[in-house]
């Protein structure tokens, strides 16, 4: 009975430690990300730093947790290896999410731009004003690039640098059409009127896809955590069972096969959720 109590206490301490480490890492990483953003670091580099630092902290927590819980560094080292392999995927996911959020925030900017063009402002002035007025990540970063305009860089170069840096999807095309229309002296505001409904439709499509994907991943997360959670509960509930299980030659193959099935499922689902 006392062994069970010690085991539960150790597990609680371990999970508290992992939770504390994660919260601490999150805070530290957030500060780091903020500083890098203020310094104007490229977003891919920022996400690499975030992914590698996050993975490093989680792997360290897993290593310490494994040492504390099982008295062996092997499970922690396995986690560390696994997380290291997953890091590029984590980085891609972080970057993809950020880019989607970034592009979503362009809608208020384009609305402000359309309104300013309608009252007769020239495109460069309207771009400046709209970027200053709509305080979204999109307009803040665009403004940073537009600030090169007064020092002699052409509008086309400013916008091209912006598009190249943030690898935009649809907004990039609209900027391209805007630029062409401006260079040829064609009515830009007329073009904006037909562009805004398209941007809205695109935004609606993106949101719908996001909702569908989030629902699917939430279900998978629940199934994965429930199966491991119930297995852990079983181990805690039957203290005699632990040594018997770990003593068996089937223990590791059983756990590895289960983890491989789940990783395979995550990979297959990720492919099925592609649009």
């Amino acid at each position: 009975m006392s062994a069970l109590f010690v085991f539960i206490l150790a597990s609680v301490c371990c999970f508290l430690m992992i939770g504390f480490c994660t919260a601490f890492a999150r805070k530290r990483l957030w500060d780091l990300a903020k500083r890098l953003r203020e310094e104007g670091a490229d977003s891919p580099r920022l996400f690499s730093v975030k992914a590698y630092a996050g993975v490093g902290i989680v792997a360290l927590a897993a290593l310490l947790g494994g040492l504390f819980l099982f008295g062996s560094p092997i499970p922690g080292c396995l986690c560390l290896g696994g997380f290291w392999v997953l890091t590029p995927a984590i980085r891609r996911v972080l970057e993809g999410r950020w880019l989607a959020r970034f592009e979503s925030s362009s809608l208020p900017f384009f609305y402000a731009l359309a309104a300013l063009l309608q009252v007769g402002l020239a495109l460069p002035e309207a771009l400046f004003r709209a970027a200053r007025q709509s305080q979204t990540p999109f307009s803040r970063r665009l403004l940073r690039h537009l600030n090169n305009f007064p020092s002699g860089t052409s509008l086309e170069e400013c916008l091209n640098a912006f598009k190249k840096r943030y690898r935009l999807e649809t907004s990039s095309l609209y900027f391209q059409v805007l630029q062409t229309a401006y260079v040829r002296g064609l009515p830009v505001s007329q073009f904006m009127d037909s562009m805004l409904p398209l941007l809205e439709a695109e935004e609606a499509r993106r949101e719908r896809l996001k909702t569908l994907r989030q629902g699917a991943w939430a279900q998978v997360g629940l199934v994965v955590s429930l199966s491991w959670g119930l297995a852990a509960f079983l181990a805690l509930w039957q203290p005699d069972f632990g040594p018997l299980f770990w003593g068996s030659r089937w223990a590791i193959p059983c756990l590895v096969t289960a983890a491989a099935f789940q990783l395979g499922g995550i990979w297959a689902l990720q492919r099925a959720l592609r649009w």
Binding site: V177, S194, A231
Partner: protein
């Protein structure tokens, strides 16, 4: 399982082609709407999409070296990967050769493609629970069984070694 995966990939490629074509026609519509000739608008729209389109789609839409623009349209009306969409290129060939105003027709084509895209999204949303259930049954259910029943079976085996 392989067949299901193949089917999903084919669907994903078809969706990509549809979305690419939709963006392309939207861009054409915008360019033609502000007064460009179709051949010039075609080049500008492709330039805008150089990094966004999957390489095979960009190559198919791009006129080959020495290929005149109407010939490119004729080629697309025969070789565009999705047979149902070839009609739009055929229509463009006809309208371009007739010298008719294209703005309204491009608007209609883009509208039709938008609708198709919307339907594809709805279809994707409708099929998703089924796809998810299949994945759960194939991958996550065996893993859960292994995690829950495996230790019990091991315990039974160890208890009755004979």
């Amino acid at each position: 399982m392989g067949a299901a995966k193949g089917f999903e990939m084919v669907k994903a490629v078809e969706r990509q082609q549809l979305v690419a074509l939709l963006y392309f026609f939207e861009a054409l519509r915008l360019y033609v709407g502000v007064g460009y000739d179709l051949a010039y608008a075609w080049g500008r729209a492709l330039e805008g999409f150089r990094t966004l389109f999957p390489a095979p789609i960009y190559e198919v839409l791009h006129p080959s070296p020495g290929e005149a623009f109407p010939d490119c349209l004729v080629r697309l009306s025969r070789e565009w990967p999705v047979a149902e969409h070839r009609i739009w290129f055929e229509l463009l060939v006809f309208l371009y050769q007739q010298g008719t105003a294209l703005g309204g027709n491009l608007e209609r084509i883009a509208g039709r493609l938008r609708k198709e895209n919307q339907l594809a999204l709805e279809n994707f949303g409708r099929r998703l629970p089924l796809v998810l259930n299949i994945k759960l049954l194939l991958f996550f259910f065996p893993a859960a069984m292994l995690l829950l029943m495996g230790p019990l079976l091991i315990m039974l085996q160890e208890s009755f070694p004979g």
